[in-house]
């Protein structure tokens, strides 16, 4: 099977600082891959390269086998790479439906649509459908985001990310600001996304969450991808050792 996304030999420098030295990464359809690493390991930089914010100085990215250049975040989105940022990028005073359709509104048919009239009913119906498919619990699609709980907001952001012919979803620490119950719901959502065949890159600091949802764990350390572990073949201690560097390719034997 062909990987959905394959990044080889990615390096990124900021002046004399080497943010990424050599990262190899691939993800297959329907797979959840957790990217773990200490602060400063290069997770953020790597994610920003995949979402089009930065350009790599070395290395190549292939999307469904095709060599791509991600010129901007918009460009990455057009190519089907959706990123759910930590801040969720929602408009709090705007309702759920409008947030999900922000920038891609459905217009009324005919002349009214041409002069800018929205088809709110069609959008609402579609959003209800999307939320249902992902079993996301949001009371009303007319509620403004301000009135939602943290977990519900996360759900809105995730639904928005997966609803547009998406190739790949990147989630940057989606549980960072959430309580236990809400985190669990978010993990369930990730599983639902996976079951739709959409691969998910999941960045987290909470290792148990990685074991809960990920098929594979990739550890970054000091700008390098140091190991690629199948979740069912490893255990938390081993992962921690790789993250902290007490286990490495050099002293593995």
């Amino acid at each position: 099977m062909e990987p959905t996304l394959q990044a080889t030999g990615i390096a990124k420098y900021f002046g004399s600082i080497r943010a990424l030295e050599h990262v190899d990464f691939e993800i297959y359809p329907g797979e959840v891959v957790a990217v773990l690493g200490d602060n400063g390991a290069g997770k953020s930089t790597f994610i920003k390269i995949l979402s089009g914010v930065y350009h790599p100085d070395q290395g190549e990215i292939r999307l469904n086998g095709e060599l791509v250049r991600l010129n901007s975040p918009m460009d990455a989105r057009k190519k089907g790479i959706e990123t759910v940022y930590q801040d969720l990028a929602l408009a709090p005073q705007v309702d759920v439906t409008s947030n999900i359709f922000l920038g891609r509104e459905m217009m009324r048919k005919g002349l009214l649509g041409k002069i800018g009239f929205l088809d709110r009913k069609a959008m609402r119906d579609q959003v209800k459908n999307m939320l249902g498919q992902l079993k996301a619990s949001v009371k009303s699609v007319n509620q403004v985001v301000d009135e939602l709980s943290g977990g519900q907001r996360q759900a809105v952001a995730i639904v928005r990310a997966v609803s547009w012919g998406t190739n790949l979803v990147i989630m940057d620490e989606p549980t960072a600001a959430l309580g236990v119950e809400e985190s669990a719901k978010t993990l369930e959502l990730i599983k639902e996304v996976k079951s739709k065949g959409i691969p998910v890159i999941f960045i987290t600091h909470t290792i148990p969450f990685a074991f809960d949802v990920a098929d594979r764990i990739v550890v970054l350390r000091l700008g390098k991808s140091v190991v690629n572990l199948m979740t069912h073949d490893t255990h938390m201690d081993e992962v921690v050792q790789w993250i902290t560097g007490s286990k490495s390719v050099e002293n593995n034997y």
């Binding site: 975040p73 918009m74 989105r77 940022y85 990028a89 929602l90 408009a91 709090p92 005073q93 705007v94 409008s98 922000l102 920038g103 891609r104 509104e105 217009m107 002069i115 800018g116 009239f117 929205l118 009371k139 301000d146 009135e147």
Partner: protein, 335 residues
């Protein structure tokens, strides 16, 4: 489902309902205040409820209403437009001067020229506002404070500091036309603009982006909305409607005073804030602004009619603004 979960669901339901009630209240409490003020004035002085007072109140209200429409669009984007009053004055003077200069083409044509030039001038000031805010990254407050000065200065330069007089009498006839005994010509135009603005804001993509940008500009940018372009359009629209207000005043008085519009932006901003808009952006409605403009205008004509010094209106509006914002904050505590 466990008992605990059921209880939790119910609590949530109750919260939602009480939220809805509170929201309903905050939408309509200003309307109740308007009705209350009208009732009080009506009891003290029945003449307040007469047709002639209706005509003078609604006609007086057009200025605050139109500038309020401008300001509603701008304030929802989390901006402010201090230049609307100055634009109003500038548009009136420019329109008047153009009419005088083009009278040789016949009255009708000269009026058309005047109106078109007046509207274009307002849009140009709005364009400058939008460009300075988005490209030079100057805050809306400072930008429009600057263009307010520029526009006011230009108004005095163009008019030589005196009223522009000698306009065709037909202008005055149009401006003071009363349709169906109850509606002044300028009121009808204002009602049409209000209806269009309300529909535009609530039903179209333009309105949607206006709210989204005011609510979270960065998120809008990431969603692919061309935020700068949209803001420029909003400030141009604001300038356009403000200059329409200046032209309507010109038709009423058939004289363009360079003093027109001085401080009018404050009443407009007050109307928008009383109407429930948030100066932090993302919230506000045309209906709210209508109620806000109604309160301000009723206070002016009401105090006159009950023989109280009308300066008390300024005091009352100040108090109402603070109450309105306070009430609004109680209802929208940051979660």
């Amino acid at each position: 489902m466990s008992n605990r979960a059921v209880t939790k669901e119910t609590t949530h339901q109750v919260n939602l309902t009480s939220n809805r009630i509170r929201k309903g209240l905050s939408n309509y409490w200003t309307l109740s205040i308007l009705v209350l003020i009208i009732a009080i004035f009506g009891v003290i002085e029945p003449r307040f409820l007469s047709r002639s007072n209706w005509l003078s109140t609604t006609t007086y209200m057009t200025e605050t209403m139109l500038l309020g429409i401008s300001e509603t669009f701008v304030i929802i984007t989390a901006g402010i437009d201090l230049s609307v009053g100055a634009i109003e004055g500038l548009a009136g003077v420019v329109a008047a001067l153009v009419i005088l200069k083009t009278l040789a083409f016949g009255t009708t044509l000269s009026l058309i020229f005047g109106v078109v030039f007046g509207l274009v001038v307002g849009m140009l000031v709005g364009l400058v506002n939008g460009l300075v805010i988005t490209k030079m990254k100057i805050t809306p407050f400072i930008t429009t404070l600057g263009t307010m000065g520029v526009a006011t200065g230009l108004t005095f330069i163009f008019s030589g500091g005196t009223d522009v007089v000698g306009l065709p009498a037909s202008l005055n006839v149009i401006g003071n036309l009363v349709v169906a005994s109850w509606f002044n010509f300028t009121v009808i135009i204002t009602m049409i603009v209000l209806a269009l603005a309300g529909i535009w804001l609530s039903k179209t993509r333009f309105g949607q982006y206006t709210y989204a940008i005011g609510s979270n500009a960065e998120a809008s940018r990431r969603a692919g909305i061309r935020v700068d372009n949209h803001l420029i359009k909003v400030y141009m629209l604001s300038g356009l409607i403000a200059s329409l207000s200046g032209i309507l005043l010109l038709t009423r008085f058939a004289t363009a005073s360079p003093l027109t519009g001085a401080n009018s932006e404050l009443n407009a901003i007050a109307a928008v804030v009383i109407g429930g808009a948030s100066l932090f952006g993302g919230r506000g409605t045309m209906f709210g602004t209508l109620v806000g403009a109604g309160i301000i205008s009723v206070l002016v004509t009401g105090l006159v009619i009950v023989n109280v010094q009308p300066y008390w209106q300024v005091v009352a509006i100040g108090v109402i603004i603070i109450l309105a914002v306070w009430f609004d904050q109680l209802n929208h505590r940051p979660s």
